[in-house]
């Protein structure tokens, strides 16, 4: 049981978190942020374990992890 919050404005859509997620529940959003990047979003809140892998891999430190 966990949750992540992504500061979408800070995200550059690099996809490193998507690759790091063991549950494969992060994807790029269909919309863009003000910088023009498609930000990462959590696709399945219930499946998130709060493992923090996405946080560890995020170069822009825009993910908060809750457990």
């Amino acid at each position: 049981m966990g949750l992540i919050k992504i500061r979408e404005e800070r995200c550059k859509g690099c996809t490193l978190c998507i690759n790091a997620c063991p549950k494969k529940i992060i994807a790029l959003a269909p919309y863009v942020n003000s910088k023009g990047y498609n930000p990462a979003t959590l696709t399945d809140e219930k499946a998130c374990t709060g493992c923090g892998f996405c946080y560890a891999f995020c170069p822009d430190i825009c993910i908060e992890v809750y457990r």
Binding site: T15, P59, D60, V65
Partner: protein
């Protein structure tokens, strides 16, 4: 639910200028987290060099001196000699540390200067636009080696950390990489060890971190991590190069 991971207090909460997928941001966070966990931000002085990471003074939430290309170890020496109680580290890329700053880094190690060196190696000049670095692999393309690096023309990649480890003044040298959660954790441990050795009054230490440059390598971030492991790492094997236990 509790917040278990979030933006460290030892970083300034501003967007970073790095390209999408550049691992500098991860390495900045690791350095900042170690400083936060060791509760030493009040006595830390970072030394910025020149290259993509030269603006790290905008991000680290503690004192920073910005030095010139390659000269960070000399500036760190000046700061450390005046404030031996402080944690002083340099943050340098391979263009900076392995080319123009070769003399400064080697002699800081030779002196056993009590500083930590965070050496980010992606085998290319980033900020100036993807030129060949001394760390660029043979046959690797760069804007100043458009046909691939010719060893006949420019020689071979330089192994800085091995060279630094040879110096008696160097107490700890390790090469890590940013490629998985496990290697990120390993990198953090190495940074912590380097900082702890410095606080304990031991000598010079260096953590070389194999990194990527998606923009100048012309790859997607994920692809560049794979390329790094399949190419850069074969030339620069990760692992412990010199442990403080080897130091007499």
């Amino acid at each position: 639910m509790d917040k278990v991971s979030s933006f460290p207090k030892t970083l300034v909460d501003v967007p970073m200028h790095y390209c999408p997928g550049c691992t500098h941001g991860i390495i900045h966070r690791l350095v900042a987290e170690v400083i936060e966990e060791m509760e030493i931000a009040f006595k830390t002085v970072g030394i910025a060099s020149v290259g993509c990471s030269c603006f790290c003074y905008d991000y680290f939430n503690f004192d920073v001196v910005a030095s010139a290309h390659g000269r960070a170890p000399a500036t760190a020496t000046g700061v450390k000699r005046v404030h031996p109680e402080c944690l002083v580290f340099t943050y340098q890329g391979d263009g900076d540390l392995a080319a123009i700053g070769t003399a400064e880094i080697i002699h800081a190690a030779v002196r056993g200067e009590k500083i930590s060196v965070i050496f980010v190696n992606n085998g290319i000049y980033g900020m100036t636009g993807g030129q060949m670095a001394p760390t660029t692999l043979p046959e690797m393309k760069a804007t100043t080696s458009p046909y691939g690096r010719s060893t006949a023309l420019t020689g071979y990649p330089i192994k800085m950390t091995e060279m630094l480890a040879l110096q008696d003044g160097c107490v700890y040298a390790e090469r890590t990489k940013i490629s998985s959660v496990a290697t990120i954790n390993k990198t953090k441990k190495a940074i912590r060890k380097s900082f702890e050795l410095q606080i304990a009054g031991k000598g010079f230490s260096v953590v070389e971190i194999l990194s990527t440059c998606p923009t100048n390598w012309g790859m997607e971030p994920l692809e560049s991590i794979k390329w790094m492991e399949e190419n850069l790492e074969t030339y620069y094997p990760v692992g412990l190069i010199k442990d403080e236990k080897e130091v007499k």
